[in-house]
């Protein structure tokens, strides 16, 4: 199955978007956004995989040993940490919406008011 990781990434992306579109709860919506975002990690890591490659860390490993792409790994690891704080920001906004509108169902919030 040489395309399986890409199919998984595509599926996770689509199922997350489906969750966002059909969501009845802002917290659920924020988590679905995180699911969609996670598909990019799988895609990046899948693209960087070298058949038979080890981790790109050469402590006690001979230089020149086959290793996977370190660039996609560094992109993924920084983004995981950043995405947690961005998710928290969205949840803080959801808390404020609940205080103002007394609901976190996006369909019941109605028009945006300042």
């Amino acid at each position: 199955m040489s395309v399986a990781p890409y199919l998984v990434a595509g599926w996770i992306c689509v199922i997350g978007i489906y969750g966002i579109v059909t969501s009845r709860n802002l917290i659920h919506l924020a988590l679905c956004l995180t699911v969609t975002q996670s598909s990019t990690y799988i895609l990046l890591l899948a693209i960087g995989y070298v058949k038979g490659g080890g981790p790109p860390i050469f402590k006690g490993v001979k230089l020149g040993t086959t290793a996977v792409d370190p660039v996609v790994q560094s992109l993924t690891l920084t983004d995981i940490v950043v995405s947690v704080t961005v998710l928290a920001l969205i949840l803080a906004l959801a808390l404020n919406v609940h205080k103002e509108a007394d609901t976190i169902n996006p369909d019941e919030i109605g028009e945006l008011s300042g």
Binding site: S2, T22, P56, P70, V71, T85, A92
Partner: protein, 248 residues
């Protein structure tokens, strides 16, 4: 916009997206058949050139250090936004909560676990350029180990450690220190964030050269940012509980 309209708009969009995804699968290289030059080049040159044995961390804090500075500021701004949304002007006192953990076994074993996990977190940051780890992973581990204080002791012990008086300066030092290390290179007439002290000695605490400081700044920034986040959300939950006289 009603639910029905939203779903009606979603279906055609999904069909287009599905088509594009299927199209991309036709030409994409097989899994494991990596073509890009960067991975091969970096895995060859990083150890001889920069004396760092963890190539991932060398990319994060040295080769792409400028990009990571941007990522760090996203973190900083997101946490600033959370503080603006959630922090109250006058801090409520949640002292009457009565949530101290009664079991001495949990308290003692838990306190030991805090010590061990803080040590592991600091080790992850310190040896980021040698073995798996680095400022981002170590910072997240450090924040989690401090959060353990809340779980094994009480809200009062936690908020004594993780409050805005401690965390706000640390967050500033983490974000600002990164930029300062970058600017020092400019003073020397070199490009921003040039690794001045490098290359260090492979396999040691200073194998990162001046990127070692950048790594520590990122570790402090990530740990402080996550702790601010935990403390703001916990306060949002705890303070109403304390007012209601309830226990956790």
């Amino acid at each position: 916009m009603t639910r029905r309209i939203r779903i009606a708009m979603f279906v055609p969009a999904l069909a287009v997206l599905g088509g594009l995804l299927a199209w991309s699968l036709v030409a994409i290289p097989k899994f494991g058949d990596y073509r890009g030059p960067y991975g091969y080049v970096l895995n060859r040159v990083v150890v001889p050139e920069r004396h760092m044995s963890n190539v991932v961390t060398s990319v994060v804090f040295d080769y792409r250090g400028f990009d990571t500075m941007g990522e760090e500021f996203i973190l900083f701004i997101a946490v600033t936004g959370i503080v603006l949304l959630l922090r109250k002007q006058e801090r409520d006192d949640a002292g009457e909560l009565g949530d101290e953990i009664g079991s001495p076994g949990v308290r003692i074993a838990g306190t030991l676990a805090v010590g061990v996990s803080v040590l592991v977190a600091l080790w992850l940051i310190a040896f980021g350029f040698v073995t798996p780890g680095g400022g981002f992973q170590g910072g997240a581990a450090l924040a989690s180990s401090v959060l353990l204080v809340f779980l094994v002791a009480s809200w009062r012990s936690w908020s004594g450690l993780a409050n805005d008086k401690v965390l706000d300066p640390l967050e500033g030092i983490g974000a600002g220190g990164y930029v300062v290390v970058g600017l020092v290179a400019l003073v020397d007439g070199l490009p921003f964030l040039t690794n001045l002290l490098g290359p260090g000695k492979t396999g040691t605490l200073v194998s990162g050269g001046s990127a070692t400081f950048v790594n520590w700044c990122a570790g402090i920034e990530v740990a402080a940012a996550l702790l601010v986040l935990f403390s703001e959300f916990l306060e949002e939950y705890i303070v109403p509980l304390a007012r209601g006289g309830g226990t956790t």
